[in-house]
Amino acid sequence: MILTPAVQIEQVCRSYKSGAGRIMAIDNLTCTIAAGAQIALIGPSGSGKTTLLSLLGALERPDSGKIALFGEEINGLNEAAAAVFRRQNIGFIFQDDALMPELTVAENVTLPLILIKTAAREIKQRVGEILTDLNLQQFSRSFPQSLSGGEKQRVAVARAVIHQPKLLLADEPTANLDRRAADKVLDTIAKLAATSGLTVIMATHDPRVYQRFPRKLEMCDGKLMCGC
């Protein structure tokens, strides 16, 4: 049986205006990632990691080329359709500061489920489960500002996976955490990935992070160096 790959990127270019000229943030990139793979996206600063994640999350449109996730082409989606695609298929984790300050921890985690119109009872049950799983149940009624950086990031992980997406995109999720907190977040992600068959793509500079990943994609100047 041939599985549909999680990610198919064909000759994708994305450039940005920069002063007088243009910067090729992604330069004619082609690559395929199998479903269920866990991949570290590495490369020097400015090599295009964040840009690639944005393209994969349909937050950005490529100038040219094709991007398909799980067989569905996403480069042609308009903004609203892209949002709907994201809420169903993608979980995002940012470097920091990504929780809604006006919502409690539990409500933050609830957000993706509300977007896919989950029944109230199921929401309650699933949020309870995941907070317990990630050892966050004692914070469920707290507001994010009272949590430590590591705790916040674990809440962000919970929010990114609560709706059981097929693809988790993480952009340096541990860059602002100390060793122990970082390990805890990474352990959490690894555990979730192992149990759910989630495809994970995580951008990072940190060798101690990418060493944990079986497969690495290295970028340089918008191109892939090796690994594909």
């Binding site: 964040t50 937050l59 949002a83 995002f92 300050p101 919502l103 957000l111």
Partner: protein, 396 residues
Amino acid sequence: MNFWLRFALRSCLRRRRRTLITLLGIAFGVATMVVLGAVMVGVNDTMIKNAVAIHTGNVVLQGDSVPSAQALTRVNKLADSLPAVDDRIKTVLPRLHFPVLLTADQRSLPLNIVAVTPKLEALQTPIAGRMVSGKYFADSQGLVLGAAAADKLGIEVGDQVFLITRAQRSAIKVSGIFSLGVAGLDQGIGFIALARLPTLPAGSVNYEMAIFCSPGSDLRKVAARVRDLSLPSEKVRLWDDVLPDVAQLVKLNEFSMLIMVALVVIILGFGVANALLMSVMDRYRSFAVLKAIGVRPREIFIVIMAEAFFMGLLAAVIGTILGSLVTLIWSGFGLDLSHYTSSNPLFSVNSTVYPRLAPVMVLVPQAAALGAGILAAVWPALVAGRRSVNQVMRGL
């Protein structure tokens, strides 16, 4: 409650100080409009009341020129039947008019005599309170006339004068002199009691029933009921039909108030837009994260609009309550405008204005402020959803 509405409410509550300042700004604007509106309504009330008291009543039934005996019978009948027609009718005053030449010694003056029922009339007319000499109908025998007329003829209270009509000439004693400060009235009108009429050679008279209604009554409805009782030869008119100059002044007043409201609303709108835009710009990051999670721009738009709606609604309610309170307290002692109105015939009778809350003038500022708040939120709400996630996350 819908999640996005709850989210909007939380956002407002979280930015308590900013919300409060915006809210107080709107509330103050609404309160100001409510109070100013009430003052305007009060000014109009006073003008109408003054004009109506002397001239027409709120609704007037006017009869053709008929012999005085016939007119008397008719007005007596109407005085009995009209008050029962509609419970908005407070008082009905019969008034019979006829022109005379008033003479004393060698001098004479044309005068319009109005025959009235002194006791009832005294309750409505300002003239009873404006006597400069004698009394307003100490008995039902005398003539009450204006100071200007008395001066012209050189007469005082107690003097005898003659009323000359085409038919006859008859003597009457001056029993009171009033001064309203309005030339036409002080020189042109004299009052006698209805009871005196049969003894005078009035000939033909015009009669009317001045009908006074409780404040805020729907005069059209009252008029319709009165019309049902009237004879084909009688006309039932509203005061604004009889006194178009006063009606126009009232309209002019309302129009300038409308311009005021529009101005305040526009200023409020810009204030709200500014406050919301700042709040949106502070939260670009939040909105970017929401979009990354899969929230559509439309939903972000709804959140901002809902915030504006909540704030506008609460502010409108607070402002209305505040404005109404101020108005109610103020209406207890009124506002003396005599300094600004002493030469204005419409205020010469009574220059104290009592601010009054008219439903329209309370609801218009409220609706306008709410509308302006919501309209002002459109631009910030669009801005909130439009920023690209990538740009926000890079701090661009």
